[in-house]
């Protein structure tokens, strides 16, 4: 009995141990996977992707002339009987089939016909679908027609048509945007549309994205990389791949912007991945060779991103070691400080109070005090302003505080003003 009881106990113990091992191994493997361990930088689904080609909807070249009225009636009857076009996939396909057989001239007339209806605003779906098909053969004419439809909504419709068309034909859309005689309304937003199209290119056509970067302003290229950071933060394989691509791109801003996008949205449930990334970021900043005029901006972008992920202590310490003698606070870090003060006013104030006086501390103090004023923490702003050495920065802050504080609490503002040393 004794031996048998013992062996049963041993077995139960072992089973419990095995269960615990299985559970913890499963859990920790999950964290490792999320952080990107043991994964190749090429995502599995891209490896197998055979053809990037998707059957495109293009009007055929052969078509018979027909009564435009009859086609219009046909389209409208599809629309009216299956009115919620966005969720009737058969009807969408049917409209495509009809439209695909039309010549550009016929498409133009159909489009005009839709315009002339008294219910135009309720048939946007149909209008957009026909518009996108027309754009595939004659983008300028299609966009012009949409723009001409209404002064206030024309651009909205034209941009939707553009987006729908560009998603399937990015190369043509980018070429169209490049044209020197682009429609004036689009010229105004050319950069913005380019950013949109290129942002969507990652998996479909990365070389095209890179080629287009050369035509874009540095700020727009940064915007694209930041979007990619947002998009791939939860996908370790893609994150890794784009991290390398951004580092290899030869543009120091690319990795800075990609990192900013990542850090902003890094999921709470992946602390392991975030820590690894921060280490990697620090190593990168310390080892990368940057021109001196670019360096502060890149560093500021990284430090600003880290502050927002509650990595403020080490990041700011790192920053102050390098920049305490500079009176310039690069805007990315300034903006991050504003958000930090809004989220953690006490911690950020305390951090500043602990810093030895320096030109950089003055610049940060001005931003932190201003941000406190927007939260109506006037007396705290006043105490920070009192520790600023630079007379010009201090005066600007004091004068602003006086205006804002007086609006809310004239008595307290007056008292504070009186206690200040005379200007």
């Amino acid at each position: 009995m004794g031996t048998r009881g013992k062996s049963v106990r041993t077995s139960i113990c072992w089973l419990l141990v095995i269960g615990a091992v299985a559970f913890s191994s499963n859990r920790s493997a999950k964290y490792l996977a999320r952080a990107g361990y043991f994964q190749s930088a090429v995502p599995g689904h891209s490896k197998t992707s055979g053809g990037n080609e998707v059957r495109s909807i293009r009007p055929s070249t052969e078509h018979e002339p027909r009564e435009i009225e009859a086609v219009l009636t046909q389209l409208l009857s599809i629309y009216r009987t299956r009115n919620e076009l966005w969720l009737s996939f058969d009807a969408q396909a049917e409209v495509d089939r009809i439209v695909a057989s039309l010549s550009p001239e016929e498409l133009a007339r159909i489009f005009q016909g839709l315009d002339a209806l008294d219910e135009t605003s309720s048939i946007d779906d149909l209008y957009l679908q026909v518009g996108a098909c027309w754009a595939a053969v004659d983008p300028t004419a299609a966009m012009n027609a949409a723009l001409g439809r209404s002064k206030d909504r024309g651009m909205y419709l034209a941009s939707r048509i553009f987006r729908q068309w560009a998603a399937d034909h990015p190369e043509n859309a980018l070429r169209w945007l490049d044209a020197p005689d682009l429609i004036p309304q689009f010229q105004k937003q050319r950069e913005q549309f380019r950013v949109e199209v290129v942002s969507g290119l990652t998996e479909a056509d990365f070389p095209l994205a890179q080629a287009t970067f050369r035509k874009m302003s540095p700020a727009d290229v940064r915007a694209v990389w930041e979007r990619w950071g947002h998009s791939y933060v939860e996908d370790p394989a893609m994150r890794e791949r784009f991290s390398s691509l951004s580092k290899e791109s030869g543009d120091p801003d690319a990795y800075a912007a990609f990192n900013k996008g990542l850090m902003k949205l890094w999921p709470e449930n992946d602390p392991l991945g975030l820590m690894g990334h921060l280490e990697d970021l620090k190593d990168h900043l310390e080892s990368v060779n940057l021109p001196p005029e670019v360096r502060p901006r890149i560093d500021a972008e990284a430090v600003g991103a880290a502050i927002l992920r509650e990595y403020n202590e080490p990041a700011l310490e790192w920053w102050m070691q390098r920049y305490s003698d500079s009176d310039v606070l690069p805007p990315p870090l300034g903006r991050a400080l504003v958000t930090w003060v809004r989220n953690k006013p006490e911690i950020s104030m305390q951090w500043l109070q602990d810093q030895p006086r320096s030109p950089q501390r003055d610049a940060m103090g001005s931003v932190i005090a201003t941000s406190l004023m927007t939260q109506q923490r006037f007396s705290q702003a006043a105490s920070i302003l009192a520790t600023i050495n630079n007379p010009e920065t201090r005066t600007a802050g004091v004068e602003r505080l006086e205006i804002l504080w007086k609006e809310k609490d004239p008595g307290a503002a007056e008292q504070w003003r009186k206690a200040l040393p005379p200007r």
Partner: protein
């Protein structure tokens, strides 16, 4: 060697195997969940199903998954949607539900959602009751919008049965979806009596029908007047809100000024008229700034001076300061110019503006100030003197002549 001799060696080995297996599974499932558009955890059922699939079905699933993974965080393109729909059209009910199991709907990826809508739509074409029931039970019941693709198929295949079933068994979301789709469709089928039929179905159906009627009523003064009267008689604020919104949106551009005269129509209750008028103003100011301002300034418009200033600022805010300011000077309303400088500067100070940190924030303040200064140098100078040092610097350095005091 020690372990091998231990009496517990089998247990060790088992712990190693089970631990390794569980670890591998945890790792694998997480990789599946976070790659591309995501995939649900491996399950015995899904694994065996894959083994039993024939080649063509495997290919179809692989192609669908390839497209959604490649889209990742974006939606599918139009051409991709058409291709996916073609694939779903060839699926049996069983294949549809099998594919549904491969779609994680909780990770917010647009492509997954689009595919799920297609699957439910197709399923509702083949077996509407089963599809509707599935959409109302977990894990799909929390995705309330799935009711639309289902009703969108069912209503057009068998209106009567759909109505009966939804009434008896449908969730509130399904009833709402039914009403919205039916209201619009019934109005199209029968423009004369459609409104009454829609009302008989329910309030959402009536609203949908009224929206279509709005777009058909926007063209002339008489039709608009009739429509507004209908809304006023109905008395439901929800219908008033969506109806007038659609009416304003559908009104032809050249008619907008005529629309403003509608407001004087004595048949519209006054409290409702104001909301309608403000909505018209918001549209008109974007179409023809000057005409809108002229109308607002006229005595019979009833627009308050505060609202006029807001209109002026909307106009100026569309990167058209010079145009708006020129109008203000011509119309003897230079007070709008000074007021907009003060308001803009105040907003900047209050919202934490910092010189050089947000290049777009208040970028045209120096230009606005300059216009004011040219008109009323003393008042402008005195105001600037009351601003903080950094704001003074920004305004002075930004103005071309640089002589601001």
């Amino acid at each position: 060697m020690f372990l091998w001799r231990s009496p517990h060696r089998w247990y060790f080995l088992l712990a190693l195997l089970v631990g390794g297996g569980a670890g591998w599974l945890g790792w694998k499932n997480e990789v599946r969940a976070v790659s591309g558009a995501g995939a649900p955890p491996l399950k015995f059922r899904s694994a065996t199903r894959h083994l039993l699939m024939d080649r063509s079905q495997k290919d179809a699933f692989a192609r669908l998954n390839e497209l959604r993974h490649r889209a990742s965080w974006m939606d599918l393109t139009t051409a991709e949607k058409r291709e996916c729909w073609e694939i779903f059209r060839s699926f049996s009910e069983q294949q549809l539900t099998a594919y549904l199991d491969e779609l994680p709907l909780d990770n917010g990826k647009a492509a997954n959602w689009t595919l799920a809508c297609m699957v439910f739509h197709r399923w509702a074409q083949l077996a509407p009751e089963a599809a509707a029931r599935a959409s109302m039970t977990p894990p799909y019941s929390k995705h309330r919008e799935l009711a639309f693709p289902i009703i969108g198929a069912w209503f057009f295949n068998d209106q009567e049965r759909a109505a009966k079933w939804v009434n008896l068994n449908g969730s509130q979301d399904m009833k709402n979806a039914y009403e919205r789709i039916a209201g619009k469709a019934i109005f199209y089928q029968d423009p004369e009596g459609g409104l009454e039929k829609a009302e008989a179905i329910g309030p959402e159906a009536l609203r949908a029908a009224l929206i279509v009627l709005a777009s058909k009523s926007a063209a002339t003064r008489e039709s608009r007047s009739d429509y507004l009267k209908l809304l006023a008689e109905n008395g439901d604020p929800m219908h008033w809100f969506s109806g007038t919104y659609s009416l304003v949106l559908a009104a032809p551009e050249e008619e907008v000024e005529g629309l403003l005269d509608d407001v004087a129509d004595s048949r519209i209750p006054e409290d409702l008229a104001k909301e309608y008028r403000n909505r018209l103003i918001d549209r008109l100011i974007r179409i023809d700034h000057e005409r809108a301002m002229e109308w607002a300034m006229s005595g019979h418009s009833g627009v308050s001076d505060e609202k006029r200033l807001t209109m002026f600022e909307t106009w100026a805010g569309m990167e058209r300061w010079d145009e708006a300011a020129e109008w203000a000077m011509r119309s003897g309303r230079t007070d709008f110019i000074s007021a907009s400088v003060r308001r803009q500067a105040n907003a900047m100070l209050r919202n934490g503006w910092q010189i050089g940190h947000q290049p777009d924030f208040g970028a045209d303040l120096p230009a606005r100030y300059q216009t004011w200064q040219a008109q009323e140098p003393e008042a402008a100078g005195a105001w600037l003197g009351s601003m903080p040092l950094d704001m003074r610097k920004f305004v002075k350095e930004g103005s071309a002549d640089g002589h601001a005091r």
